[in-house]
């Protein structure tokens, strides 16, 4: 009898060890490849990164050198247009939700923000295509930026809402008690207090849209030339990487790796910097 319990207790311990080890193993299988992605991109990309890569235009297959300067600039311009579309709407929307969004209307808006963020980005791309490309008969940076802007809206709205909600209620009430109109209190006191947190959310969503490809391939399209005109096709890093990556040429692959490295570097730097910055936000 005693022997039996001893065996059971041993079995329990073995089981315990086994399953906890399995958890650690699975966690390793999950985490290690994720982190090695960065190392892989770095090793593959670093050899093709040079000054030309940032300043020159793409060259045809066979020619040596060249870069994707236009695509790097294009990505920043497209993100800028996206911000013009997405930020005012997203931020004001978040403020509205935080201040007045308790009832049914608030519920519907929150719900549709969730729906909007779950719509595949390619679908948002074809929406922008119908609205701005098919009607105007040509690809344009505006159409691409517009699609990216829509993608930003739900994230920016929900972060702004959360940040504004964290602002102490008595700040708001103190403003009202001084006789300041409600909208002025909201914009000048509540919004300013929440700004640090909102900025973090905004930059994280900018980092996200910089990596988007699908909504751009038939809106902003691509161009091998320098183009700053927003009513014309515009190159972006993601679409350029895509075009190079699916080609069979080694020179283009090298360019695509360099592009991937640059893109990952930009996106991760934004994310890291913003996180570091946002840790200083303290509400009392």
């Amino acid at each position: 009898m005693e022997n039996n319990t001893e065996i059971q207790s041993k079995l329990r311990k073995i089981k315990e060890r086994f399953f906890l080890a399995a958890v650690v193993l699975c966690a390793l299988i999950a985490v290690v490849p994720l982190f090695s992605v960065i190392g892989y991109v770095f090793i593959k990309g670093i050899s093709a990164v040079n000054l030309d890569f940032f300043t020159k235009l793409p060259v045809p297959v066979g020619d040596i050198g060249g870069g994707m300067g236009n695509a790097i600039v294009g990505t920043f311009i497209l993100s800028g247009i996206a911000c013009l579309v997405g930020l005012p709407v997203g931020i004001f929307g978040g403020i509205w939700l935080a201040q007045f969004g308790k009832g049914k209307r608030g519920f519907f808006i929150r719900y549709s923000a969730d729906v909007l963020s779950s719509i595949p980005t390619i679908v948002i791309g074809i929406f922008a295509y119908v609205l701005l490309v098919a009607t105007l008969k040509h690809f344009s940076a505006v159409a691409g930026g517009f699609a990216l802007g829509i993608i930003m809206i739900p994230t920016v709205t929900r972060t702004t809402e959360e940040m504004v909600k964290m602002v102490p209620r008595n700040l708001y009430e103190a403003g009202l008690a001084l006789g300041i109109p409600e909208w002025k209190v909201t914009l000048h006191i509540v919004f300013r207090t929440a700004w640090n947190g909102i900025f973090t959310g905004v930059m994280l969503s900018v980092a996200r849209i910089m990596g988007e490809t699908a909504p751009l391939i038939f809106t902003a399209f691509n161009t091998p030339y320098w183009s700053l005109r927003v009513d014309q096709p515009m190159a972006s890093m993601t679409v350029t990487i895509y075009n190079y990556a699916i080609s069979p040429f080694a020179e283009w692959h090298a360019q695509a790796w360099a592009g991937s490295l640059t893109l990952v570097f930009i996106v991760l730097s934004i994310t890291l910097l913003v996180r570091k910055f946002s840790k200083r936000v303290v509400y009392t």
């Binding site: 999950a30 490849p33 992605v37 960065i38 969004g101 909007l116 595949p120 990596g211």
Partner: protein, 294 residues
């Protein structure tokens, strides 16, 4: 004058709040407007259940069942890979890992969610596809399995963060109760913590599915893009999203082919809407648990 200004500002703020609703409705209306035009020529059931997708042959055939099955295969594979790994990683981070690496892993994984899918797709072409080709002795490594593996890693950060959140919000007393009754650490996790976090885990699964179904570029690059009915994960497949991305550029505006791509857009919209409803239900339950904790 001042009142008028205030009125305008207030309305502008409300309109921005409503922007999400406006865009969701607008997107749906535009998809319907372009997509429904297809059904003048093509039977609805022939579209949804037709087994042949030959949009530019003569006569064209617009059966999207192979594309739906392509999406289902890739998604199924990705979830089968990502959920156990994600669950294990979340358990490790929240219950097993020493405190010093917990924070590092948590923010590291969230950081990795920011890696653009185009980069992962490129790694898929160069690294993963040749590897699979050699392991399984295939003609080409560009298969549903390649897509599943890559998408599993794309969905992992989302899945891990949400499950981790759900596990952390299980009241401490549950686990302590189990330990006090003599359960081992693993028994407490497996029998008490995980069941208590079940709705959060389900929400993570749903959001993971949502992420995978909507992903476009990586699948376009690494699944081989053959619009045929798949029978195994080791075949090339083509997903709904990849079809839209690959063919939108060449479809003649106003042709049946063009309309059919918007009809696919409607299907995608509805799928992601349904997934979102389920994710929302589970998330709400999970949040109710969090409130109880407080």
């Amino acid at each position: 004058m001042k009142n008028l200004f205030e009125f305008i500002v207030e309305k502008a703020i409300f309109l921005s709040g409503a922007a999400s609703i406006i865009f969701v409705v607008l997107i749906f209306i535009f998809l319907l407007k372009e997509g429904l035009a297809l059904f003048g020529e093509v039977n609805f059931f022939a579209f949804l259940f037709g087994q042949n997708w030959y949009p530019i042959s003569d006569p064209p055939q617009f059966g999207i069942l192979p594309l739906i099955m392509g999406s289902v295969f890739v998604t199924f594979g990705a979830i089968v890979i990502a959920v156990p790994l994600g669950l294990a990683a979340a358990i490790y981070i929240s219950e097993v890992a020493p405190h010093s690496i917990r924070g590092f892993l948590k923010s590291g994984i969230e950081l990795l969610a920011a890696i653009p899918s185009i980069v992962l797709g490129f790694i898929g072409i160069i690294f993963l596809a040749p590897l699979l080709k050699n392991i399984f002795h295939l003609g080409s490594g560009l298969t549903a399995l390649a897509g599943s593996i890559m998408l599993a890693f794309m969905a992992l950060p989302t899945i891990v963060s949400i499950i981790e959140d759900a596990i952390v919000s299980v009241p401490r007393s549950y686990k302590e109760g189990a330990l006090a009754l003599g359960a081992t650490h693993w028994q407490a996790i497996y029998r008490v913590t995980i069941p208590a976090a079940a709705s959060g885990i389900l929400a993570a699964v749903m959001l993971g599915i949502g992420r995978v179904v909507g992903e476009t570029m990586a699948v376009l690059m690494i699944t081989g893009n053959a619009a045929i009915m798949p029978t195994s994960l080791l075949q090339p497949v083509r997903t709904l999203t990849a079809t839209v991305a690959a063919e939108m550029g060449e479809a003649v505006s106003g042709s049946s082919h063009y309309y059919s791509l918007f009809a696919i857009g409607i299907v995608l919209f509805i799928i992601s809407f349904i997934i979102n409803i389920f994710a929302d239900i589970f998330l709400h339950r999970s949040k109710a648990m969090k409130r109880r904790k407080k």
